[in-house]
């Protein structure tokens, strides 16, 4: 049976992980390679690296990092952040990234999704969508949730699927950082109305939240950062509990 995936997300700036981590025995908590290996060994199903470097120099460092992750880590990983062209994607895939994710650039020029999926195959194109509820309507936001758009979440998600996205990474800006649970109502809607996998993001605070997003939110995968980085939840404990609740996981 296909299992639900647990995906730690690492924010990368100039080739280093930002936000502290408190794995006690890591020599260098800012080293993305060491962290990635640790997560892979602890049962993570995939990894996401989000490049938040603002400079060209920082982006070049990202390619080096991707190459090193591909060399040393034996599970799949996605790279996102600032990707806006076929050339960007080609460079990342050449360095060994399994998938890439696009967000703002796809909203600005939706044809990018068609071009990328045609050139590289849907299976490696993840479209990330950030959204927030305004007067009961889920609206898409850009640039890490800072710029509002008129786009309706569900319409955009369906368009993205039609254009050839292989997966959607949905982050609820309303839930992100709250540690109050994922946006399960809208996640369920997304999952039922679309025919591609949905990765839930934003709101993880406890093991039960993951169980809820799989059972109530019908998510195919769940992504989180701080609960893993700060050791609040160990992936192995999380998976054991999910298994106990009869949710299929790889253990």
């Amino acid at each position: 049976m296909l299992t639900k995936r647990i995906i730690p997300c690492l924010d990368i700036k100039n080739g280093r992980t930002v936000k502290g981590v408190n794995f006690i025995d890591l020599k260098d908590a800012g080293d993305p390679i060491e962290l990635a290996k640790r997560y892979a060994d602890n049962g993570a199903d995939e990894l996401v690296f989000l490049d938040i470097s603002a400079t060209l120099e920082g982006r070049k460092t990202m390619l080096d990092m991707v190459l090193k992750v591909a060399e040393q880590v034996n599970i799949p990983f996605t790279v996102g952040g600032g990707i806006s062209s076929i050339e960007d994607v080609e460079a990342l895939l050449k360095c060994g990234a399994d998938k890439i994710s696009v967000n703002s650039s796809a909203v600005k020029r939706p044809d990018l999704i068609n071009e990328l999926s045609k050139r590289f195959g849907s299976q490696c194109i993840v479209v990330a969508i950030d959204a927030k509820q305004i007067d009961g309507q889920w609206k898409v936001y850009l640039a890490g949730g800072t710029i509002p758009t008129e786009l309706d979440l569900l319409c955009w998600a369906k368009e993205v699927e039609m254009r050839g996205a292989g997966e959607i990474l949905f982050t609820s800006m309303d839930h992100d950082g709250t540690k109050d649970g994922f946006a399960n109502t809208v996640l369920k809607k997304l999952s039922e109305e679309l025919n591609i996998p949905i990765i839930a993001s934003g709101g993880a605070g406890s093991i039960q939240h993951f169980s809820d997003t799989f059972q109530l939110g019908k998510a195919d995968a769940a992504l989180a950062a701080s609960v893993f980085h700060f050791g609040e939840i160990e992936i192995i404990d999380l998976k054991r509990e999910l298994k106990k609740q009869r949710i299929p996981v790889r253990l």
Partner: protein, 193 residues
């Protein structure tokens, strides 16, 4: 031991090279027929779309060479699918090593299948030291039906072939290079064939 990974422009093959590197094997990426023919082991990868991948094989004449190889050959993902008779993806004719067709998953399940699924009914030396129900990482929209050449099955909307073998030809739908230690064991087994 000389291991070559056929490089015909289809997808992320660096990962496979790195996976062998982790097993202390320097695999060569090449589309040079001579090098491929001389290798002890040949890996035939493939990620992307079947028709364009097949066109790229034809351009380099590899469509003639691959089916005639005598050493152990491992097709991975689209590589395995292209070794079959034909695929529904772009109505593409394959290399015809495996006497079976490739079909698209029904829309009753999410397509592509992305993630870790179990492998069962294991029937080959390729799975030495790997138990039933171990997990492998899969990403695909098309699947190979069950057939005489099936050496492992997986269940997603129906039971299908997640690995095939005919003589010296092996095919796996999953990505051993991305399937943690279980995948590494499979690659080790392939090297020992």
């Amino acid at each position: 031991m000389k291991v070559v990974i056929i490089d015909y422009g289809a997808g992320n093959i660096k990962s496979i090279q790195f996976a062998f590197k982790r097993l202390n094997i320097d695999a060569i990426l090449t589309n040079n027929p001579k090098e491929i023919l001389e290798a002890d082991k040949v890996v035939f990868p493939g990620v992307g779309e079947a028709k364009s991948a097949m066109d790229m094989l034809k351009e380099s004449g590899l469509d003639i060479i691959i089916p005639k190889l005598k050493q152990p050959v491992l097709g991975i993902c689209l590589g395995m699918q292209l070794l079959c008779n034909e695929t529904e993806e772009g109505s593409t004719r394959g290399l015809g090593v495996f006497n079976v067709s490739v079909k698209r998953f029904s829309n009753q399940v999410k397509v592509p299948q992305i993630g870790w699924n179990t492998i069962n009914n294991l029937k080959s030396k390729l799975f030495n030291g790997i138990s039933e129900n171990e997990y492998m990482y899969l990403v695909h929209s098309y699947y190979v039906e069950n057939c005489k050449e099936t050496i492992a099955t997986t269940n997603y909307s129906q039971i299908y072939s997640s690995a095939l073998q005919k003589d010296n030809f092996f095919g796996v739908q999953f990505h051993p290079e991305k399937s943690s230690y279980v995948g590494e064991q499979l690659l080790k087994n392939f090297l020992e064939l």
